[in-house]
Symmetry: C2
């Protein structure tokens, strides 16, 4: 059951699609109090309560033991001490021995969730405002609660099939020549590839919807030629619009009052990559429609996918901030410099970037009413992506466009995916990625992935390979890295053959991954699941932080520690461990329910097939267009007397007709595996 509680006059954020009547009586799940500006909820937790949720944020699948801030933040150095990153997803599940409860606070401003950090047995939620909806969901277990929540917030976005291929990105591909060279090297090395990303350098002076003609003399022809090779180009779109006379986007925005404004009605100015910019007011319906339509200029040149970036929005500095810092600087320098002065000097400039005080001085116009940015901050990235997605509906109504965003709020999952933002080349960020995938799936963000290999910092060779080995399971599989870091395309490494084998395995898994994804999206299911979602009574399963189910058929347990040649796994049921060195080179091992240590050499990828389940495998190909779905292998662990039917979603890969699937039915009769339903494709069977 979902119970909705009203707190004063909430803004309709668009998170929810199902209209639920307000409860007449107040909630009694939390103790609550208010002060001048905030609403504070508290609840005692039992010693063994587990708390799931919060989508993209930091730390474990079990959120207990830290203080999380829901306020979309551009913070690339998200180490363990941080509280907020790019997304803000206010959904929690409290798993108590007697009752499982879901909580969703539909509020677009800042919230702090202290989940047993101050006091281990206390949950304290501080909503920095008084106008919001609180949803309480009751269910028998975490899966039931999540399914209800997913029904509340609507169906997840589905990208085209090619977006399930391997994608190569780097901030540093400067021009057509660079991109071509990357494509050529992939081809020479025989490493599959479906797309190459264009980071900010493709634009003319970082102006959205422009292409630098010196770098890409004939962009449209270039896009076409690359597509003929099976490679889509995916350009970045940043939130800020450069202030430049003669630049059409800028001029239209100013003329029509489409930009966020200061209190005095002037357009707010923020320094970002292009220099001084204005921020489109995506929360203003007209502005949103206008901005979305601009994507057409690139679609018309053959582009089929985009990533929306810098949309927390990231602000390097505001004009007001610079002014203040310079006047402060003069004050500091009037005295002889001592240690206090020195620290003041550093702080003075370092606080310029993403200073939250700046969020109070610009405004959104929502249906004629002005809202200071800080009050609706968490919606900005969401509405930028909604703006694009609603435009795509008109530009190409029945064609899926790849779209994902850095910043997000619950509800955005209907319009696009996300990547987990600017991570680092750290082992701990592989683990974080595993944990984020689980939590994001609870909130409907199915199309997601990490920057494989790490965005910031220099990757090491084994880290890169191990990260790829996890990355082959994420719907969005993109290798991305920052300017001035070590180049990390797979062919840069002495372990490139191992990396090639890994990427090829991804392609072999695409029928499974794609089918599982579509099934999850159209049926409000999860693609990635923590173990306890299928085994809610299993107390050990609830504590597992580094293994995930994918769909109903497999479990993954990636290696995410430097130097590890194996790892422990907890199996809530009997499974078969398949260790792949490549698509064709594999070993099988039956494992009993319980704990095991498994050895996993640097070139091995473990996949666990669950009991009485089967998955399809196909031969790898150089890209998704070339995959041969007509020849398939079913890799099964079906015991004698048991059967399983896999639903294979196979479509044209780009139109919006998702619902048809092919049944592949298998049964084990006297230790012989046979079909109970066999489609008209060539399928070989391997039972383990």
């Amino acid at each position: 059951m979902i119970y909705r509680y009203n707190y004063n006059n909430p803004l309709n954020t668009g998170a929810v699609v199902k209209n639920i009547s307000y409860q007449q009586q107040g909630q009694d799940f939390f103790a609550q109090r208010t002060n001048d500006e905030n609403t504070i909820f508290t609840r005692k937790m039992d010693k063994d309560d587990i708390v799931f949720g919060l989508g993209e944020t930091l730390r474990g699948i079990n959120k207990r033991g830290w203080r999380y801030e829901s306020y979309c933040s551009d913070d690339a150095l998200h180490h363990e001490g941080k509280s907020a990153i790019y997304g803000a997803h206010n959904f929690l599940i409290i798993k108590n021995e007697n009752i499982t409860s879901g909580i969703f606070i539909d509020f677009p401003g800042k919230i702090i969730f202290d989940i047993g950090s101050k006091n281990y047995c206390l949950m304290e939620i501080t909503v920095f405002g008084k106008d919001f909806d609180l949803y309480l969901i009751s269910g028998n277990n975490e899966q039931e609660v999540t399914t209800q929540f997913r029904t509340l917030i609507g169906k997840s976005y589905i990208p085209p099939l090619w977006a399930f291929g391997y994608q190569q990105s780097r901030w540093g591909y400067r021009n057509a020549e660079d991109v071509l060279k990357i494509a050529d090297e992939f081809e020479q090395e025989g490493i599959p590839l479906d797309s190459i990303y264009l980071d900010i350098d493709y634009m003319q002076r970082y102006k959205n919807f422009t292409v630098d003609k010196e770098k890409f003399p004939d962009f449209q022809a270039f896009v076409r030629k690359m597509k003929e090779r099976g490679i889509r180009l995916v350009p970045i779109i940043d939130a800020g619009v450069k202030i430049e006379e003669g630049y059409e986007v800028y001029e239209e925005g100013v003329k029509n009052n489409y930009f966020c404004k200061r209190e005095d009605g002037s357009d707010f100015v923020a320094g970002v990559w292009p220099g001084k910019t204005h921020f489109p007011d995506f929360l203003n319906k007209k502005a949103s429609k206008w901005f979305g339509n601009w994507y057409k200029t690139l679609i018309d040149q053959g582009i089929e996918g985009f990533w929306n970036d810098m949309n927390e929005p990231a602000i390097f500095y505001s004009e007001e901030g610079i002014e203040k810092a310079l006047s402060n600087f003069d004050k500091i320098m009037q005295k002889p410099l001592d240690v206090t002065g020195y620290f003041a000097l550093l702080d003075n400039f370092n606080q310029l970037s993403n200073n939250r005080e700046d969020h109070k001085i610009f405004f959104h116009n929502i249906d004629g009413k002005l809202y200071p940015h800080n009050e609706v901050h968490n919606l900005y990235g969401f509405y930028m992506t909604k703006s694009a997605s609603e435009a795509f509906e008109k530009i190409s109504p029945n064609k899926r466009v790849l779209m994902f965003s850095r910043s997000s709020y619950i509800g955005m999952h209907r319009y696009g995916g996300i990547w987990t933002g600017d991570n680092c080349s750290w082992w701990s960020h592989i683990l974080l990625g595993i944990q984020q995938m689980a939590s994001l799936n609870m909130c409907g963000f199915l199309y997601s992935g990490t920057d494989i290999g790490g965005f910031g910092g220099d990757t090491s060779e084994d880290l890169m390979l191990r990260w790829l080995q996890f990355g082959i399971f994420t719907p969005l599989m993109r290798n991305h890295s920052a300017f001035n870091t070590r180049e990390q395309e797979p062919f840069r490494f002495s372990l490139k053959n191992e990396m090639k084998n890994t990427i090829e395995l991804r392609y072999s898994l695409i029928p499974f991954i794609y089918s599982t994804f579509i099934d999850a999206a159209i049926n409000d299911k999860m693609y990635f699941k923590p173990l306890s979602f299928d085994f809610p009574q299993d107390k050990r399963a609830a504590l597992v932080e580094d293994q995930l189910f994918i769909g109903d058929e497999i479990m993954i347990a990636p290696i995410y520690q430097q130097g590890a040649k194996g790892r422990y796994v907890y199996l809530p049921e009997d499974m078969v461990l398949v260790k792949f060195k490549s698509y064709g080179q594999r070993t099988y091992q039956r494992l009993k329910k319980g704990d095991s240590y498994i050895s996993v050499e640097l070139d091995e990828i473990p996949i666990f097939i669950r009991k009485n389940k089967a998955i399809p495998l196909i031969k790898p190909a150089k890209n998704t267009d070339q995959l041969d779905w007509a020849n398939m292998e079913m890799l099964a662990y079906i015991e004698d007397g048991e059967s399983y039917t896999f639903n294979l979603y196979k479509d044209d890969g780009y139109s919006k007709n998702y619902t048809s699937f092919i049944k592949i039915g298998l049964e084990n009769h006297n230790d012989e595996l046979t079909f109970t339903e066999k489609p008209n494709i060539n399928i070989s069977l391997t039972n383990i």
Copy 2:
């Protein structure tokens, strides 16, 4: 065997105490090449080679897979992306299937160790100079190599017994009143305590060897009164000497040319906590003797221990740096601010702190020869601590003084301990601490520990408890935190009883910890050992990154993950698991060699007693002075027909007569445990 190879004209760093003749022929372990300034060693590694060593640095016990920089660095935010921290310990062990090799590069400048980061199977060591000694050690295994190395570098420092008690610190105890309040609270809560630390605030304007009379009106009496309560005060000494007319240390230093100088002969000026300071030239023998002698002023007031800090040395800014930054600032501001200008602005001030260019502009006078600081950088903290320690030898020749340092180089282990510097309240820093303890012990740094609970950032309640549960095993057990972070004395938490029980258990273990420590120090053994040091043939043991042996008797396996209620352990032999809720509340469980998952509730501390071993336990007391060593329990896991003798080191706890011990001999005869040697103390026996 140890082989010593000469490279040109090395400085005698003092790392080594055993004179070994140079080999006549060059080494052929590494391929080597030189360029204008550097010497580069390379060696191919086998796929399964494991590399131990590098003392305090970052990452795992197995160092393979990252690039480490040996250059003492004041970096409190040492996340996974960093390469250098406070210590520089150039000792490595390569464990290959056929041969185990030790490497020590005795060089006081910068070295970069790329251990399979660029290329997984390549070790590349870049020595930023041409004058050094290279030692190569061959042995049958890692323990043999380490023992030889330890013999080469001399015996480890031993602190007084009280320094094995629980120690409370915080940057933020401002005055006698604050300190008293802390002491009172410990007493009221009945939590044991042996010392309280005085961070920089006790001094008069951060001047070394002064005490602020407003804050401590009668320091000597205060020190005495606290000691009567069983609490020693441990003041900080920073490297920099404040420039202030009339301040004796400053005036003597200037007059006698005891400070590091610029090229023009003037005293180098660095901004640190006291504002402008000079750096004592600890590498100058006279200056070292002079500075060391100043510790006497505090010893004369009753002080029995010190910590040397900021001795990398940390430099907030140099005069030259500030001047350059300000002129740069003017240049940046001449143009309208764009994004490039904005980043230049930030960098301009942020690069002031610990800028390595500053290390080139001040000099040390070593026996009349001038060395730019960067060439001898890694010796600075070492020689500061040596200066103090050599003075203690004269001030109180037969009394141990507590001394530990932040910065260090191999050789300093003879003069003092170290703590692992300014860490953070992160779970990953518990694990890092476990790993650092192993590597530090290889380099002779036995008296060491982490800032328990984390120095920077706000601790969470369970993190604090779990960290204490590891901290009870480190010889230096100090809870320390930074100004403006959450207060983390044990009595601040709702879990304070669990914390009290944990600290009490430390006191019960002191006879074991102290005996193991003294034995390790006087016999060149390790207090903490990675598992493979006792099981060099066990390939699984060599991969274990989160368990340690202490001495020969026990294994620890701390919990270091948020939310964990248990963990996996690998046992290279049968053991008994003792889970303590407190000294008295425990459960026993025999575990077989191999892998196990053990449940460990938040209030439980697991200790594994090895097969046919025994440890002493005593009743906890409010401090080390009060411990009753005359009533003891031997907790044993001795199988039928087997025996074990524990060497109990029991002395006055402060004099330098370490070598005497008492034998406690036990044997199991027909499943009855009896003494084979029994000293004249009351000992009860528990065999499990």
